[in-house]
């Protein structure tokens, strides 16, 4: 009983904090930190002997991390029953796009130095780059349609259908990583497993079994696109 009450109290405190006017700026600044840190390392020789390759790597990893965090918002909101979490989903998704953009710019502009012929050959000839570019195209479309105005213009149903492709981007992003490393390495599979886990949570949440078991315990939020 007491623990239950305490949990409710904690949840209320967290909700209040998340609803505060400082919550979004705080998350915004936090999301910029990896970028700032990478730039700092780049400027001070901290990226090692091959700073360009390391820059491409770091921006790519952060794009994938933010994409997974964005995908974790809804399951986390459902599990913790803290609806205020939804406020941050769009921003985190846009950061995933921003890091992916930085990743692509570092690759095209610095690594290949705008050798468009080489970039095009990479995209069509190297499956891991094809897949990565696919993820980037999806994220670009989602970022471009992320405004309230675009939600209205597309209409809720079409907008939601379009934004479901974020799962394709997540899968492609993880595969991009799995495919680019040499030999059998663990880290890319950790990302893939986290992605799989997040998808599984969604499926479990919307399955008839969940609705049957969970009915009456808590409301199912059908409105997941809002912020």
């Amino acid at each position: 009983m007491a623990t239950g009450l305490r949990a409710i109290g904690l949840r209320a405190t967290i909700s209040t904090a998340l609803m505060s006017r400082w919550a979004k700026p705080a998350v915004f600044v936090a999301a910029l930190l990896p970028m700032a840190w990478t730039f700092w390392l780049a400027g001070t020789g901290g990226l090692g002997a091959e700073p360009i390759a390391e820059g491409v790597r770091q921006t790519g990893l952060w794009a994938l991390r933010f994409l997974l965090i964005a995908l974790a918002v809804t399951p986390l909101r459902q599990l913790t029953r803290v609806p205020a979490l939804a406020r941050f989903r769009r921003m985190i998704g846009l950061f995933a796009f921003a890091y992916a953009l930085l990743h692509v710019l570092t690759y095209v502009g610095i690594d290949q130095f705008f050798d468009w012929g080489a970039v095009w050959k990479d995209i069509v000839k190297r499956p891991y780059i094809t897949v990565g570019m696919g993820a980037f195209v999806i994220l670009t479309a989602l970022a471009a349609t992320s405004t309230n105005g675009m939600v209205k213009r597309l209409g809720g149903r079409r907008w939601r259908a379009l934004h479901k492709t974020v799962f394709a981007a997540g899968l492609a992003g993880c595969f991009h990583y799995v495919m680019l490393v040499k030999g059998w390495q663990i880290p890319p599979f950790v990302y893939l497993a986290v992605f799989g886990g997040l998808v599984a949570l969604r499926l479990a949440w919307t399955s008839p079994w969940r609705i049957a078991v969970g009915a009456g315990r808590q409301p199912i939020f059908s409105r997941s696109g809002g912020d």
């Binding site: 002997a49 190297r126 030999g183």
Partner: protein
């Protein structure tokens, strides 16, 4: 077999002078270390493991500007040695667990005189410094001053028989010393191979040092292969066994991904790796990429080994 290495890559006497100066500075440093060692740590610091290696430069790129030697720090902190982790800085961070003394290399197979060489025996081969380009299959490259001796010198001692066609190499297999071997990144131990004529080529060396010092652990101590006209993964590190064979031996990366890594793995800008264009490369430390040279620029010396072969098929 007598093969003349072309004059362009041979060092002239006047080019070697700065190197001698460099070495004399080194011996001062080594002397300082020895003096410190008297204070109780002598058994740890003395002995061949910490001595600078004195060797004359015999081969270097013809244009020292175009192929400036890579800073030692880059060469020793950015490399692949999956036995210590798959990150580029993992080897330099974690290779301290490797024990390079005592060390033995068994040389056997299709030979008249199979032998086991202790590392002390190997250090007695006449050592030369060779400044070679190193081209990684991941499209980055370095220029490294190795200290070593021709692999041919070792092979001659064991007297390959008439049926000898290939040479197989094997890295130490000991997960306690090489923690990366606890993970199935590759089929351990790491193995590599050369055709016998490639192995006998004067450019193929066994290196025991780099930058005038003994090899650091992360670079394949205490003895490694260096085959400058092939992608870096052919230059197997921390060798414990060399077996002369009749048949083409299995090689680690080829077993792992046969469509990506061939047995020959000659540097070839015209044959793409499925994941990396091999047309160009970035010299570590440079901003711009540069065009990759066939056989990593050693074509004049080695192209004849492959005359008549379809290098697209035998990649």
């Amino acid at each position: 077999m007598l093969l003349k290495v072309r004059a362009a890559s041979e060092a002239r006497e006047d080019e070697v002078t700065p190197r001698a100066l460099f070495l004399s500075r080194r011996s001062v440093i080594a002397g300082g270390a020895a003096a410190l060692a008297v204070g109780g740590m002598a058994p740890l610091l003395s002995g061949p493991a910490f001595a600078a290696l004195d060797a004359k430069t015999t081969i270097q790129p013809p244009d020292a500007k175009l192929d400036a030697v890579t800073p030692q720090k880059s060469a020793t902190t950015y490399n692949n040695f999956y036995e210590f982790g798959t990150g580029k800085t993992d080897p330099s961070e974690y290779a301290g667990t490797l024990k390079t003394r005592p060390w033995e290399v068994v040389v056997d197979g299709e030979v008249g005189k199979p032998m086991t060489f202790g590392i002390e025996d190997l250090l007695k081969f006449p050592l030369e410094e060779r400044i070679y380009r190193l081209r990684c299959v991941e499209a980055w490259s370095m220029v490294i001053p190795w200290v070593g001796f021709p692999l041919a010198e070792l092979l001659k001692r064991v007297e390959p028989t008439g049926s000898a066609k290939y040479v197989a190499f094997r890295t130490l297999h000991d997960p306690a010393q090489m923690p990366g071997q606890r993970l199935g990144v590759l089929n351990w131990p790491y193995t590599e191979g050369l055709r016998l004529d490639e192995a006998m080529h004067p450019l193929a060396i066994l290196a025991v040092g780099m930058y005038g010092d003994v090899l650091p652990n992360q670079s394949g101590a205490p003895i490694r292969l260096v085959v400058p006209w092939k992608y870096g993964f052919k230059s197997i590190k921390s060798i414990v066994r060399i077996t002369v064979t009749k048949d083409q031996p299995p090689t680690a990366w080829n077993r792992s991904q046969p469509f990506e890594y061939g047995f020959y793995a000659n540097v070839n800008p015209d044959v793409d790796h499925p994941r990396w264009s091999q047309a160009n490369e970035r010299r570590v430390g440079d901003f711009f990429r540069r065009k990759t040279l066939a056989f990593n620029g050693y074509g004049e010396e080695v192209a004849s080994l492959y005359s008549g072969m379809d290098l697209r098929k035998y990649f």
